[in-house]
């Protein structure tokens, strides 16, 4: 079905869905009008604008039915692993096993926003001593306690060490409520000393070989736990196959990002791109289907690029966005203010890089895990951002602060200083709460001021 690229409301999206159905176009089992999710409580959907394409409709439905899939998996007797904090490594291992599904319970941080705080997950967390001084991941505690969202996993894993304090505290609180966790150590990545054997990680950071070895040994522990859970062997062959599948998805995302962030006019809105990237972390609980969903999105983007059609006017300010946002509406606002995504670093760029296939699998996974931007110095993260900004041709950077996240204040200061000094482009920090509506005027002013600055710099 050919549709003019643009952003549309949920009502128009449902009209598109009905037309699709009427035309007999194939639809996945989880497809349908988005309004049914609103009826389920995802009221924020009413305020968002969406890409007008069957591919985007499929993407949204795929995202919003994840909990259904997890419950189906439980009913079908599959084992469920809740992998926490590391973004993108343990699920690669888990999905290499038959009958195992992995997901990030911390991904529940979106839930209060999507439900416009109606569900009370934050209030539940507050009642357990985890209040608004903590980042929105605290919603996870509420979801575990009220059991209204995902099924309680059969195994919970959590990386600790070089992680943010609020996440570590939230996860520990969860354990204290009776949810056992397999903790594994993530060392604080550093640059190798001159006399130390070193390794280059995916993404280009150097690290001491000893740190990779430590992570690898922790992966062995995880492997054993997953094998025990699944009652099946997770050997190198199985892991290698899992890595290849993950890399196929990463390859699709790589091309999708490259086109979406560089082609002019912009072929795909920021909101859909944020969700698409999130699929890299744990495949939205269905690895095969996530590949198909991303593939369809990529086909749509390729078509639009060939036809030079886009969802935004040509020449929108290219903004490199750092850190994810709880309120998805922020992505719409960026475009409303004259901007477009010109690159991203949503805290999991390591989950977008290819996992080496020419190394023993656990060694490859260990290197990938250690390449996590949160694990190393903020200066390293800034260097990656500098490189990617240059690569994508971005004209300014937004560092989105997550309220309550312990790393944001200091990290933002360091990254901003380095990026400004190296690139001479504007860097603006913006704190984005779970619901931005009361803050709209001030957020709008910041984004508009940024795009104005970009346009002025072009005119000089």
């Amino acid at each position: 079905m050919s549709v003019t690229p643009k952003r549309i409301t949920i009502e128009e999206m449902d009209l598109l869905c009905r037309r699709q159905q009427a035309a007999g176009a194939p639809m996945p089992w989880y497809g349908g009008p988005l309004n049914r999710h609103v009826a389920d409580g995802d009221r924020r959907l009413l305020k968002l604008e969406y890409d007008a394409s069957p591919a985007a409709l499929r993407l949204w439905n795929f995202l919003l039915t994840e909990e259904d899939r997890l419950h189906q998996a439980r009913e079908a007797g599959r084992k469920i692993v809740g992998t926490m904090k590391d973004l993108g490594t343990v699920p690669v291992m888990a999905y290499a096993l038959p009958n195992v599904v992995a997901f990030y319970p911390d991904g529940a941080w979106w839930t209060p926003c999507v439900m416009e705080l109606s569900e009370g997950l934050f209030a539940l967390a507050q009642s357990l001593g985890v209040g608004e001084a903590f980042c929105p991941v605290r919603a996870m505690i509420g979801a575990f306690v009220n059991r209204n969202h995902f099924p309680i996993p059969d195994l919970l894993t959590c990386s600790v060490g070089a992680t943010c304090d609020d996440f570590s505290s939230i996860a520990q609180r969860l354990e204290s409520l009776g949810f056992p966790i397999l903790w594994w150590e993530m060392p604080a990545r550093r640059h190798p000393d001159p006399d130390e054997p070193a390794v280059t990680l995916p993404g280009g950071f150097p690290a001491p070989a000893s740190q990779v070895a430590l992570v690898r040994s922790e992966m062995e522990r995880l492997r054993a736990a997953l094998e025990n859970l699944a009652g099946a062997r997770l050997g190198d062959d199985e892991l290698a196959a899992g890595i290849r599948e993950a890399n196929r998805i990463r390859a699709v995302l790589d091309e999708l990002r490259r086109l979406a962030y560089t082609a002019d006019p912009c072929p795909m809105p920021a909101l859909e791109m944020l969700i698409a990237e999130m699929l890299a972390i744990h495949f939205c609980s269905d690895r095969a289907e996530s590949a198909a969903v991303l593939g369809e999105l990529l086909d749509e983007v390729r078509l639009r690029v060939r036809q030079r059609r886009g969802v935004l006017p040509e020449g929108a300010a290219r903004i490199f966005w750092v850190n994810p946002v709880a309120d998805l509406r922020m992505m719409n606002l960026l475009e409303d203010c004259g901007g477009r995504l010109g690159g991203t670093e949503f805290l999991f760029c390591h989950a977008l890089d290819r996992i080496p296939e020419d190394l023993p699998p656990l060694e490859a996974l260990a290197r990938m895990a250690l390449a996590d931007p949160m694990v190393g110095p903020s200066a390293d993260r800034a260097e990656r951002i500098v490189r990617d900004v240059q690569d994508f041709g971005a004209e300014a950077v937004v560092v989105s602060r997550i309220p309550g996240a312990s790393h944001c204040a200091l990290e933002g200061a360091v990254m901003g200083e380095i990026v400004r000094a190296r690139l001479g482009i504007p860097v603006v920090e913006v704190e984005v709460p779970p619901i931005i509506d009361p803050m709209l005027p001030t957020l709008r002013t910041r984004l508009e001021a940024l795009t104005e600055t970009v346009f002025q710099r072009r005119n000089v």
Partner: protein, 325 residues
């Protein structure tokens, strides 16, 4: 002798000393937290003040941070970027229940040693290391003995004096203050001038019978096994520091609460005053756990660190003491 600054109890002072350095575990000056050190919103006041002190201390040869909290991990980067002296970030593992964790701590000791040599120190011989460890162990034993006889504020000050100069003369000057409602002070580290909180509690009719702040005696490593020390001094150092000091950052954190259960019962504390800094997530999350776990009344002092904030703190303490009475 060159001075190396640090604040974490997981940095073994005798290791610095054995490498020819003068270790100085500082309680930073709250007024050193100049706005230029880092952002006001979101940065822990202790981390800011320590970074400020580290930047200002022209006499220090180096600074050692530890990864026991994310705020300090990030603060080390600010000091490394803007300071003029070398910074070492010691990776203290959060996990403890596997050999991997102890191994990491051991490796970090080795790496710290190489850092100290680069600063101008020297790798000690085994015999010299043993002698240094034994001397420190003996002095800590004297310190423990003295602390038990001192009033709470004086005990905290004695810890600070020891941290600045381990050879400091330890005198148990005067008896402990007469009783008030017994309370435990639990939480993060104190900054300079913060021993005032002990007085504030006493003036409100309380008495601190357990100082479980990160400046308190519980952050001293357990006494060395002298025979094992002679066999393998480095491993004994690892066992004493990494193996026995409780930490709110550890995962799982069962050892912390086991320690508190034991000590709270032994001390007879009837309430808990939590000393935590604004923006400290680790101790903020501990407040609810303490209530649940101990069943004791708990008051939470979210401390901004500066002197003016004490007026609010004092009011909260007074109200808490009234409740306990």
């Amino acid at each position: 002798m060159k001075t190396v600054l640090y604040s974490s109890p997981f940095v073994p002072a005798e290791w610095l000393s054995a490498h020819g350095m003068r270790p100085e575990r500082i309680r930073p000056d709250p007024s050193a937290s100049a706005p230029s050190v880092g952002p006001l919103m979101g940065m822990c006041p202790f981390a800011r003040a320590f970074a400020g002190d580290a930047l200002a201390r022209a006499d220090a040869a180096g600074v050692v941070f530890a990864t026991t909290c994310d705020q300090m991990r990030r603060a080390s980067e600010l000091v490394a970027m803007h300071g003029r002296r070398p910074v070492f970030l010691m990776n203290v593992p959060a996990t403890w229940q596997t050999p991997v964790a102890a191994r990491l701590y051991l490796d970090e000791l080795g790496r710290l040693g190489r850092f100290l040599v680069r600063l101008g120190g020297s790798e000690p011989s085994r015999e010299a290391l043993c002698r240094t460890l034994e001397a420190w162990d003996a002095q800590r034993e004297r310190l423990r003995g003295a602390l038990g006889l001192l009033a709470p504020r004086r005990a905290s000050e004695a810890m600070a004096e020891f941290d600045l100069d381990w050879r400091t003369a330890l005198t148990a000057s005067g008896p402990r203050a007469p009783g008030g409602t017994p309370v435990a002070l639990v939480g993060g580290p104190l900054m300079r001038g913060h021993t005032q909180v002990f007085d504030t509690i006493e003036q409100a009719g309380g008495a601190v019978v357990l100082d479980a702040t990160e400046s308190g005696a519980w952050t001293l490593p357990a006494p060395f096994d002298r025979r094992r020390l002679r066999d393998d001094p480095v491993m004994e150092l690892v066992d004493a520091y990494f193996g026995t000091i409780p930490g709110v950052f550890r995962r799982p954190d069962e050892a912390l609460y086991a320690y508190l259960d034991r000590e709270l019962a032994a001390s007879g504390a009837r309430g808990i005053v939590v000393w935590r800094y604004v923006w400290c997530d680790l101790w903020a999350a501990a407040v609810a756990r303490l209530r649940e776990r101990t069943g004791l009344p708990v008051t939470d002092l979210d401390v901004s660190g500066d002197e003016g904030a004490f007026a609010h703190t004092a009011g909260r303490i007074q109200a808490f003491m009234e409740v306990l009475r």
